[in-house]
């Protein structure tokens, strides 16, 4: 690591200009819980870090009249789990932000940063996919160059994503999930905290009014593919079917089959496929319970 500049712009345009100027020799930083560790490990050769915590749009939680919520990209985990409306309406997000790191990490680390770090094992991304969240991205060229990308399309590989030179994640927007909707996220770690997912599953379901039939579903897996893995086969196994152990088990099996993990120090291929099925089953059940209220 060599000396680098610390920039703290107060507007999106200023941040974009800095990132555009430095390209891959600058990184935006919110909590710094990934970027600073990576810089010390020489993963980046940096001329500047661009602190985005002084930009209002990135540091706010905005609840809209239609029931949707925009979470600024630099909002730390603790502000999310202390927001009562998010707790009430998006409990699947709370599952994730309460388990990332420990208390100290949660007070710094941002959900948007978790997304931009684009780790396959990120705890924050699968539940965002389950809520059909959308990334609001700003880029060079002013308002004309803002664009929206679905979270499930954001990551392109381990540590890489769709952000182009100069682009910055402003916020993630979660639409109003509506009635009879439930979502949940769980991961497997061998310890009880301060650990990284061996596998994770984020699930959402929308049930019929009677609460006994799946009308829509999202299933996303963490740490079992180069990117957070959406499993259409598991979703298809649920949609249109009655809520039953057999149906749920079929979806869980589909998740296990779809998982294509590597073996590393965190787990074996078989273990991760097995965990994908177990966690998917458990999270479908949890999501159903939440959908039924």
């Amino acid at each position: 690591m060599h000396p680098f500049a610390y920039e703290a712009p107060t507007t999106i345009d200023a941040a974009v200009a800095l990132l555009d100027k430095h390209g891959d020799r600058a990184r935006p930083i919110a909590g710094g819980t990934d970027v600073l560790v990576q810089a010390r490990a020489n993963r980046w050769d940096l001329d500047a870090i661009v602190d985005v915590k002084n930009i209002p749009e990135l540091t706010e939680i905005s609840h809209y009249p239609d029931g949707s919520v925009a979470i600024g990209a630099a909002v730390p985990c603790y502000q999310i789990y202390e927001d009562q409306k998010i707790r009430d309406n998006f409990p699947g997000i709370i599952d994730a932000v309460e388990m990332i790191g420990g208390i100290q990490i949660q007070s710094r680390a941002a959900l948007g940063g978790n997304l931009c770090n684009s780790s396959p094992s990120a705890d924050g991304i699968c539940p965002l996919i389950a809520y059909n969240a959308v990334c609001h991205i700003a880029g060079p060229g002013g308002d004309d160059n803002h664009r929206d990308v679905a979270v499930e399309d954001f990551c392109t590989g381990p540590g890489s994503n769709v952000l182009a030179r100069g682009e910055i994640l402003v916020s993630v927007v979660l639409p109003n999930p509506g009635d009879n909707f439930g979502a949940a996220y769980e991961r497997f770690i061998p310890r009880n905290e301060m650990d990284i997912a061996v596998a994770g599953a984020g699930v959402s379901v929308k049930l019929n009014a009677a609460g006994d039939k799946f009308e829509a579903a999202r299933v996303a897996l963490a740490a079992v593919a180069p990117v957070p893995l959406v499993v259409p086969a598991a979703e298809a196994a649920l949609v249109g079917n009655s809520v039953s152990d057999d149906v749920i088990e079929a979806a869980a099996k589909a998740a296990g089959d779809a998982a294509s993990p590597i073996a590393d120090m965190r787990g074996t291929i078989d273990q991760r496929k097995h965990l994908s099925a177990v966690l998917t089953r458990r999270m479908i059940n949890q999501a159903v319970a939440r959908a039924r209220g």
């Binding site: 060599h2 061998p190 905290e193 590393d264 120090m265």
Partner: protein, 758 residues
């Protein structure tokens, strides 16, 4: 020194729980550690390490680094005095000097990924790191062996050429597989053939690291008299002095080592890594101070872990429950240089039991991983895993009660240890009896969460504890307080335990004694803080110094009273005349009259002690397991241990709990996870999974006191044996919970799910 002491039970200071003398400095962050050192003109060093597990070093080009702004010096092995294959004592027995030097900076070959190859000193830390990366090393990559099986694979090259023709290697058939010893007694083959019940198992353990929070560090400078001054985090300043002097080929008296506070060691801070590098960088940079601090990855990849290895064990018992035979082969990984500490494994494997027919064969196995260092009872947890697991298996096969079988066969005074010594008074039977009386042993398992299962296991362990040399200086202040100067670095509350023994002897309070750990110029030779020896041996030296001080003060009292010194007695902190009851003076009052009786009173104590008499522990553990995920939680844990005498019970309990915490990590998650090409993949605390506070229950402690008869206060040493039983204790609990036996560490979630699924 052979003296025996009658056990006492009435003490004023011993057995109490005063606040430790160094406590306030540590909890307020004022204690000075190695990374805090700042000296005038100080510059920073950085070390370049091999990315290859096994490689010939063809050339090193340092020119680009030397040309960088701010770079003061670049060194390689060529800057160290060249060592031949000669044996030297570096504080832990004889070792080959060339290996010791090559482990500091590699010469012809890099023997593990993380092996130091070159170093830079520069104006600041980051410049030094950038410059180190600019050094170009041309490697010829060789095939790497990262476990016992690899070492004997066809075509595996010899890691050290010296062993190709050695007798130990010829006996094993491979240069990387060096036979160390065979201990044999009775007729194990006949006894196993004649046994009613025979069990056999092979156990496979991965290397684990001590996981001390504070990374290694060293600051060195050559002073105006060309003496080398070193500040470092170490378990033994004198051992550091010894190693530096041997490696740099200078007299020990030309080296002064100042030990700073130490953020954990557990055996891993006995060997040195950075000190000679800082010394040669300082020399080459013009004798300015050079500071080196490792980053976490280098601690994992470049410093000594505990041996992994393969242990094969066979046990035989009669139908009425007598353990009659044991036969074991220990193949322990030493890392790139010899020294797996398999010898200690051989001393410990059978030490809990009386086994009339036995054999132990030990091999030191060279692998392309960092050179093993001591880790808390080094070599004993591995063999405890084997024997305590197999005893459970034997009991299950034969229908014996697991506690009764252990009690019936327990080692006691007169039992022969596997490698030959006959035990003095030991506390194995008392520990087992105390374990059986615990609430935990007699409680129900309780209800697991829905879908989960619970199980309970217990196991015992032994560590021999050492004595060795220690020195203490005392000086009496006018106010009756005492300065205590010692050479034992304090890694477990030993300032308190040593000061308390001096205070007890002098009849004053623990707070009246002010203990200070000093550099190698300032106190007599003191061996490492290791082997659970400090409270035993340095405490004994403090006792001797206190006795000498009392003798001197008796003379001072006799001068005050104009009586014969033989007429003065000392009891309960008061000097008095035996013949005239009117004449008495308290210790503190006499201290105020030193000026009238000849001036200052100082005293010294030094000892060279035999082994402390071994320590035993029995542990009980309940686990709860989610069979679908393999997640294992330790939900209750009790440790019962013989301390001889607990000088400061809180720190004895702390040692017991700390050993258990590390042992639970070893059992469940910790391992050197090596990539196919021999690089440690999990060299960070994110992926080297030590337990956090959320992964441990309150660890219940029961201190058993069977006083050690050769110590004035009965101390045995407590620091190491608590890490011996946890691996088999947890393993036996897992077996009880899921019905499947795991014989490989770590017994992690993946292995449990895999075992349940197959």
């Amino acid at each position: 020194m052979v003296a025996t002491f009658e056990p006492k039970s009435e003490y004023k200071v011993i057995g109490t729980r005063p606040i430790r003398h160094d406590g306030l400095d540590k909890v307020t962050g004022r204690a000075v550690y190695g990374a805090d050192i700042k000296l005038p003109s100080m510059i920073w060093g950085a070390v370049l390490r091999s990315p290859h597990a096994h490689a010939r070093i063809l050339s090193i080009d340092t020119s680009a680094a030397e040309a960088m702004d701010g770079v003061h010096a670049v060194v390689t092995n060529a800057d160290l005095p060249q060592a031949e294959n000669e044996m030297v004592d570096l504080g832990e027995g004889a070792t080959n000097l060339k290996w010791a030097v090559d482990n500091i900076l590699a010469s012809d070959k890099a023997l593990y990924a993380g092996h130091a190859v070159a170093a830079v000193a520069a104006a600041d830390r980051y410049t030094a790191e950038e410059a180190a990366r600019a050094i170009k090393v041309d490697y010829e990559v060789l095939r790497a062996a990262t476990n016992v099986d690899d070492t004997i694979a066809d075509g595996m090259p010899a890691i050290l050429e010296e062993f190709v023709d050695s007798p130990g290697a010829q006996e094993s058939g491979h240069a990387n597989h060096v036979k160390e010893f065979t201990h044999e007694f009775g007729d194990p083959d006949a006894a196993i053939a004649g046994a009613d019940h025979v069990v056999e198992g092979e156990f496979n353990l991965q290397m684990v690291h001590q996981g001390y929070i504070e990374p290694h560090n060293a600051t060195a400078v050559w002073d105006e008299n060309d003496r080398l001054k070193v500040w470092t985090s170490t378990q033994g300043a004198f051992t550091v002095r010894q190693q530096i002097a041997a490696i740099l080929k200078i007299d020990e008296s030309r080296v002064r080592v100042t030990p700073l506070e130490i953020g954990g060691g557990f055996g891993g801070k006995i060997p040195i890594y950075l000190e000679p590098v800082a010394a040669v960088l300082s020399r080459k940079a013009g004798n300015v101070p050079v500071k080196l601090v490792m980053e976490r990855r280098s601690v994992f990849e470049g410093t000594g872990p505990a041996a992994g290895g393969k242990i094969h064990l066979k046990l035989g018992a009669t139908k009425d429950g007598q353990l009659v035979a044991a036969d074991s082969t220990l193949r322990m990984e030493a890392g790139g240089y010899p020294g797996s500490l398999v010898g200690a494994s051989g001393m410990c494997i059978y030490a809990c039991y009386n086994i009339p027919n036995m054999r132990i064969v030990g091999y030191d196995v060279l692998v392309n991983k960092p050179k093993v260092a001591a880790y808390r009872a080094p070599g004993s947890p591995q063999v405890a895993f084997a024997i305590e697991t197999l005893i459970d298996d034997l009991c299950e096969q034969a229908g014996f009660d697991k506690w009764q079988f252990r009690r019936d066969n327990a080692a006691k005074e007169g039992t022969r240890r596997g490698d030959g010594p006959i035990f003095p008074r030991i506390g194995m039977e008392e520990v087992l009896d105390a374990a059986k009386e615990t609430d935990h042993f007699n409680s129900d398992l309780g209800d697991p969460a829905p879908g989960n299962v619970r199980g309970r296991g217990f196991a015992s362990g032994y560590w021999f504890n050492v004595g060795l040399q220690s020195s203490v200086n005392l000086s009496l202040n006018n106010d009756g307080t005492v300065e205590l100067v010692e050479g034992s670095t304090d890694i477990g509350g030993t300032r308190a335990s040593i000061a308390m023994q001096a205070a007890e002897t002098l009849g004053i309070t623990a707070e009246d004694v002010n203990p200070t750990v000093v550099d190698t110029d300032t106190v007599g030779f003191t061996a490492v803080t290791g082997g659970s020896r400090v409270t035993y041996a340095t405490g004994y030296a403090a006792y001797n110094a206190a006795i000498e001080m009392i003798d001197k003060l008796k003379v001072r009292a006799s001068m005050l009273w104009s009586i014969d010194a033989d007429d003065v007695q000392f009891e309960d902190g008061v000097f008095s005349s035996k013949s005239d009851p009117e004449l008495s003076i308290a210790f503190k009052d006499l201290a105020g009259k030193l000026g009238d009786t000849g001036g200052p009173v100082t005293s010294t104590g030094s000892v060279d002690l035999e082994a402390a008499g071994g320590a035993y522990g029995t542990h009980i553990c309940d686990v709860e397991i989610d069979p679908e995920t393999g997640k294992t939680d330790v939900v209750r844990y009790t440790i019962v241990q013989d301390a001889g005498r607990a000088i400061h019970p809180s720190y004895v309990e702390g040692q017991m709990q700390g050993g258990v915490a590390q042992g639970i990590g070893w059992a469940l998650n910790e391992e050197y996870y090596m990539s196919d090409d021999g690089v440690m993949s999990n060299s960070s605390y994110l992926d080297y999974r030590m337990p956090t506070s959320l992964d441990l229950p309150n660890i219940e402690t029961v201190i058993v006191e069977v006083p050690n008869p050769v110590h004035p206060y009965g101390v045995r040493g407590v620091g190491e044996v608590p890490i011996v039983p946890p691996v088999p204790t947890v393993g036996n609990a897992i077996k009880d919970a899921i019905g499947i036996r795991l014989r490989e560490t770590p017994m992690n979630a993946g292995r449990i799910v895999s075992a349940l699924g197959s």
